[in-house]
C-alpha cells in the first residue's frame, strides 16, 4: 500500500505508538458562572420548567470545550427532547404510581408498613432510568463528526443492578466494588464510538484493594461528621480514577491520575460556601425580624418569645424571598463547583493512550430517545 515515492526524505518514519495524550478543557469559568446564574433565575421564573434547557446548555458548554487530540466534542441534545422525555415518563409513571398505591393499600391492610418493600420496585425503575439516561447522553455526544451510541437493554441492566444492590446490602457495602465493575462492564460492552466497541477492564478487586480502608473509616466519619468530606472525597477520587482507567474503546485506552486531595479540596470549598451563604441568610433573617418588630411596635425579645414570629405575614413573605435567594445561590455554587470544577479536575487528570487507534472510525448507531432522562427526572435519580 505504501508507495515509496511518497515517503518524505530525511528522518525515519514516526514512532509506532503515539505519545499519551492529555485531555484539554477550554471553557471560561466566568462564562459558565454566567450561564448557570442566568439559568437559575429562569428556572425560578418558570417554576422549574427551564431545567430541561439549563441542563442542555450546561452540557453543551462542557462538551464543546472538551478537547481530545485537538478536536472539541459536541453535544447535540436539545432541551425540547428532555421535555418530551419527561412528559412521556410522566404518562407512564402516573398509572404506575396509582397501581403502586392500590397494591400498597392491600399490603398495609395485611400488616402495617408492609408496603415498604414495594419501594424496591421503584429502585428497579430508577436503575432503568440511569441506563437509558446514559444512553441518551452518549448518543448526543459527537466527536469528529461521528457519534457515540449504545445498545443493550435497560431492563436487563436494572435487574442486574438490583440483584447486585441486594448483595451490597447483605455485605454491608463490601460488595460495592464488584457491583460497580459488573455494571460498568455491561454498560461499556454496549457502548460504541462509531464502529469502535467499548469495554471495561477495571476489576472489582483492584477497586477494593484501593478503597477498603475507607469502608472501615465510614462508621467513624458518620459519627464525626467533620471527617465525612475527607472520606467521601477520597472515595470519589478512587472511584473516578479506577473507572476512567478501566475504559477502552477498541485499542484506545484511558488512564486517570486523579489525586484524592483534589476532590477533598473541592468538597471543602463547597462546604465553605454553604457556611458563608448560611451565615448571610441568618443575618438577613435577623435583620428582617428587627424590621418587622419595629414596624409592628413589638419589642424584639417579646417578638421572639411569643409565637408571633411565625404568624406575622410580612415576616413570612420576607422569609420566603430570602429562602428563594438562598436556594438559588446554593444552586449556582453546586453547579459551578460540583459540575464544572469537578469536570475539569477529572478531565485534566485524564490521559488518552493510543488515540491513533480511533483514527479511521466509521459512523454507526441510532439516536436514542430521552425517556430515561424523563424517568430520572421524575424519580430523582442521577447517574453517569
Amino acid at each position: 500500500m505504501n508507495d515509496l515515492s511518497w515517503t518524505p526524505p530525511g528522518p525515519p518514519p514516526p514512532m509506532p505508538v503515539p505519545p499519551p495524550m492529555p485531555v484539554a478543557f477550554s471553557g471560561g469559568r466566568r462564562e459558565f458562572f454566567h450561564l448557570v446564574s442566568r439559568g437559575a433565575g429562569l428556572e425560578l421564573i418558570t417554576l422549574g420548567f427551564y431545567r430541561f434547557w439549563l441542563a442542555t446548555d450546561m452540557r453543551r458548554h462542557l462538551w464543546s470545550n472538551t478537547h481530545v487530540d485537538g478536536d472539541g466534542a459536541e453535544y447535540t441534545g436539545r432541551g425540547k427532547e428532555l421535555l418530551i422525555g419527561f412528559l412521556v415518563a410522566l404518562a407512564i409513571l402516573v398509572p404506575v404510581y396509582l397501581a403502586y398505591f392500590l397494591v400498597g393499600l392491600e399490603a398495609e391492610r395485611a400488616q402495617a408498613f408492609a408496603s415498604i418493600p414495594l419501594f424496591l420496585f421503584f429502585y428497579l425503575f430508577g436503575q432503568f432510568a440511569i441506563y437509558r439516561a446514559r444512553r441518551y447522553r452518549l448518543t448526543r455526544t459527537v466527536w469528529r463528526g461521528v457519534r457515540f451510541w449504545m445498545s443493550g437493554s435497560g431492563w436487563i441492566y436494572a435487574l442486574q443492578a438490583s440483584l447486585w444492590g441486594l448483595l451490597v446490602l447483605a455485605t454491608l457495602g463490601l460488595a460495592l466494588p464488584w457491583r460497580e465493575a459488573a455494571l460498568e462492564r455491561y454498560k461499556m460492552r454496549h457502548s460504541y464510538y462509531g464502529d469502535l466497541q467499548g469495554r471495561f477492564e477495571g476489576r472489582g478487586w483492584d477497586f477494593f484493594k484501593r478503597g477498603w480502608w475507607l469502608w472501615l473509616l465510614t462508621p467513624f466519619a458518620l459519627y464525626m461528621a467533620i471527617f465525612l468530606p475527607f472520606v467521601y472525597g477520597a472515595f470519589k477520587a478512587i472511584e473516578w480514577r479506577w473507572w476512567l482507567s478501566g475504559i477502552r474503546f477498541g485499542d484506545v485506552r484511558l488512564e486517570s491520575t486523579l489525586r484524592k486531595s483534589e476532590l477533598i479540596g473541592l468538597y471543602w470549598k463547597v462546604i465553605g460556601w454553604v457556611v458563608v451563604l448560611g451565615i448571610v441568610f441568618a443575618i438577613y433573617l435577623g435583620l428582617c425580624a428587627v424590621l418587622v418588630s419595629s414596624m409592628t411596635a413589638t419589642p424584639i425579645d417579646e417578638f421572639f418569645q411569643s409565637q408571633e414570629i411565625v404568624k406575622s405575614i410580612p415576616m413570612l413573605v420576607l422569609l420566603g424571598l430570602g429562602y428563594l435567594a438562598f436556594a438559588l445561590a446554593m444552586n449556582v455554587v453546586m453547579r459551578v463547583y460540583l459540575m464544572r470544577d469537578l469536570w475539569i479536575r477529572v478531565l485534566s487528570s485524564t490521559i488518552v493512550h493510543n488515540i491513533g487507534a480511533a483514527a479511521n472510525v466509521s459512523a454507526r448507531g441510532e439516536l436514542a430517545n430521552a425517556l430515561g432522562e424523563g424517568f430520572a427526572d421524575g424519580l430523582d435519580v442521577a447517574g453517569f
Binding site: 429562569l42 422549574g48 431545567r51 408498613f113 459527537v142 463528526g145 461521528v146 409565637q307 429562602y323
Partner: protein
Amino acid sequence: MTMDDEASSPAPSAPGRTAAYFDGTSNKRRTVTLRLDYALVIMEDGARIASWTYDDIRRADSPTGLLRLSCITGQGLARLEIRDAALAAEVTARCPRLDENLPSRRGIAAIVGWSLAAATSIVLVVLFGVPLAAERLTPLVPDSFERRLGEVGDKQVSAVFSPTQCTNAAGQAAFEKLVGKLRESAGLDTSVQSKVVTTSPKIANAFALPGGRVYLFNELLAKAENADEVAGVLAHELGHVRHRDSMRELIHNGGSSFLIGLLFGDVTGSGALLFTSRTLVQSSYSRDAESNADSFAIETMHRLGRPAKPMGELMLRITGKEGKGITLLSSHPLTEDRLARMDKADSGLKQGPPLLSGAEWQALKGICGSTKT
C-alpha cells in the same frame, strides 16, 4: 457583501481558505479548501467533495475561537471547522439562517410564557378542579373500599400510638349509650365503631378513620368536665364519618400533592416550597371540612336537646387561647371562633334531659381502669 468575480476566482489555492472537514461517515479529519461560490463549495485536493447551500448552513456548538458548521441537507453529522477568523467572518456573513437552530431570546420568552401558562392552569386545577373532583368522586367510592382504607389506617394507628382499648364494663356501657344516642340523632347505622383508648404518650385527641372508626383518647376524656363536652366531640367526629371527609381529603390531598409536585419538579429547594404550598392548599380544605363537621355536631346535639357550647369549652381547655395571627396554615378554625359560633347557635335552645346520668358519667370517666374516678 459581493465577491469580486465568482466563476474565475482562484479560490482553491488561496491561502487562509483552508478548513477541517469531517464528512459524517468516518471520523477522518480532512483538510479542505473552501470556495465561496453560489454555495459553499468544499474542495479536497482540487476535487469538489461537497457543496452547501448558504441557506442550509447552521452553526454547531464549538469551543471558543472556532467556527463549526453543519448543513441540514447534508450528511447529518458532517462538520466543517474554520479556525481562521477572517474566513469565518466571510462565511458567517453569507449564511442568513446560521443561528436559527440555537435557542434565541424569542425561544426563551416562549419557554417562560408557556411555563407560566402551565403553572397557571395547574394552580387553577388545584384550587377549583381538585376540590370538585373530590366532591364528585367521593360518593362513587364504594363503602367496601373505604372500609379497607379504614383498616389500613387502623393498622397504622396501632403501630404509631400503640393504643390499648379501655374495657371497664360500666364505662363501656356508658360509652355505648352515649354513642348510640348520638348515632341515632345523626342518622348513622351501626357500621360505625368507636372506642376509647389509652396511649402511652398522653395525647388529648379524637379522630375518625375512613369507613367509620372513631377513636377517643382517654386523655381527652380526663380533661372533660361533663358528658355534653364529650358528646360534642364525638358528634363532630361522626360528622366527619357522615361527610366521608377522610375519603374526600384523601382524594383531594393526593391530587393536589401530585399536581403541585408536577409544578415545581426539582426546582431549587423544592422541598420547602412544595411543603408550604401543599400545606396552604390542604389546610384550607381541611378548615372547611372541620367547620362542616362542627355544623353537623351542633345539629346533632340540638336534636338531642343538648347544647354544643361545652364542646367548644373543652377544646379551649385543651388548646388554650390561640390569639390573633394568620390562620392560613392551620388545619382547624380558631378555637375561639368555634366556641363563639357554638355559643351563638345554642341561644334559644330548649334543653332536654342530660345524655348520661351522674353515675354513668363517672363510669365513663373511669373507663380506662383505676386511673381516676
